[in-house]
Symmetry: C2
Subunit: 155 residues, 2 copies
DNA sequence: TGCCGTTTATTTGTATACGAACGATTATGA
DNA sequence: TCATAATCGTTCGTATACAAATAAACGGCA
C-alpha cells in the first residue's frame, strides 16, 4: 500500500511555491498585457488619421482642460514627463497642438489645441466610441459595468 | 413652460456622438493601459534581477515548453516575431537562454533554458506570485475571480 | 524536378514607457 | 534675504510593440 498519492510526491512538508505549477499565462499581468494589446490593435484598425491611443488620450484630454502645462497634461493622462513630451511633439508636428511659454512661470510650457486638432477630434470621435464598443463586444452590458468597476480598483 | 430640459439642449434630433460628453479617462482602453502600467511598476519594484514582465513570461513559458522555436515561443507569450527576438537576445546575453540551429529545419532557432535560467526562475518565483497578489490586493477573492473571468473574454 | 506559396528569422523605422540625470526656474523656510 | 527644496522641461539609455520589407529554407503540387 502506498503511503503517499503519486500527485503529492513533491515536497509535501515544504511551504515554498510549487515550481511545476506556475503558469505565466494564468497570471493577471499576462491578461492585462494581452487585453491592452487587443485594444491597441482595434484602435489602430478602426481609427483614422494614424492617431495612436496615447495621442488620442492627450488630444482629447487637452481639449477638456486647456490651457495646461505639458507635465500636468501628462499626469492627467497617466504619462511620464519623458513620454508626454514625445506625444506632444508629434501632435505639434501634425498641427493639432500649439505650445507657448507661460508668462507667469518660466519653467512651464502651456499647451492648447488648434482648430485642426479640434477637427481631428470631431472627425474621429465616433470611431473612438466604436473602439470602446468593439473592445467590450464579447461582454454583456452587466459584464461591462462589472469589468470597468473592477479594473478601476486595480489602477 | 419649457418644452425641453436644460441638459437636453444640444442636438436633440441628432444621432451623432455628443462631443462635449466624451471622456477618454472613462473608456476601457484608458483603464487597460493604466492597470497594465501599475502591474509593470509593481513587477519592477518587487522582482529582483532586473527581469522585465516580458522576459519573465518568455523565460517561464520556455521552461514549460522547451525545446521550442523562437517564433513559436513568441506566439505562446503573445509577442510579435520582432519583439520576441529582442527579448530572447537579452535573455541569451544574460546566460538564461541558449539557442541552437534546428538540424531538421534550417530556418528554425531552437531555444532552451540554461541552468542559470532555471535558477533565476526558482529564485524569483515567490516574488512573481507576490506581484500577482499585490496587483489584485484591492479586490476580494470573489472579485478577483470575476475580473480574471471577464478580462479573459476580451483578450 | 522545378515552381510557388508559406514559414522563419532578421532588420529598419516609428511609437510608447520609464529610470536617471541635468539645467533652469520657482517656492519654501529659517 | 538666502540657502534649500521642489518643479518643469529636456535628454539619454534601455525595453517593449508592431508594421513592413527582406533573405533563407521548407512545403506542396503540377
Amino acid at each position: 500500500m502506498m503511503t503517499r498519492a503519486p500527485d503529492d510526491a513533491r515536497c509535501p512538508d515544504d511551504a515554498e511555491p510549487a515550481e511545476g505549477d506556475y503558469r505565466v499565462d494564468r497570471q493577471i499581468g499576462f491578461f492585462l498585457r494581452q487585453a491592452n494589446q487587443r485594444h491597441v490593435a482595434l484602435f489602430a484598425s478602426i481609427m483614422g488619421d494614424r492617431l495612436t491611443t496615447t495621442q488620442w488620450a492627450a488630444l482629447t484630454k487637452l481639449r477638456e482642460v486647456q490651457p495646461i502645462s505639458q507635465n500636468h497634461l501628462g499626469r492627467e493622462t497617466a504619462m511620464d514627463a519623458a513620454t508626454i513630451k514625445g506625444v506632444v511633439d508629434r501632435l505639434v508636428a501634425r498641427g493639432f497642438v500649439r505650445t507657448a511659454p507661460d508668462p507667469e512661470d518660466g519653467r512651464r510650457l502651456v499647451l492648447s489645441i488648434t482648430p485642426e486638432g479640434e477637427e481631428a477630434v470631431a472627425r474621429n470621435l465616433s470611431a473612438a466610441l466604436a473602439v470602446t464598443e468593439e473592445t467590450l463586444a464579447p461582454l454583456t452590458a452587466g459584464e461591462r459595468r462589472m469589468l470597468i468597476e473592477l479594473i478601476r480598483k486595480i489602477c
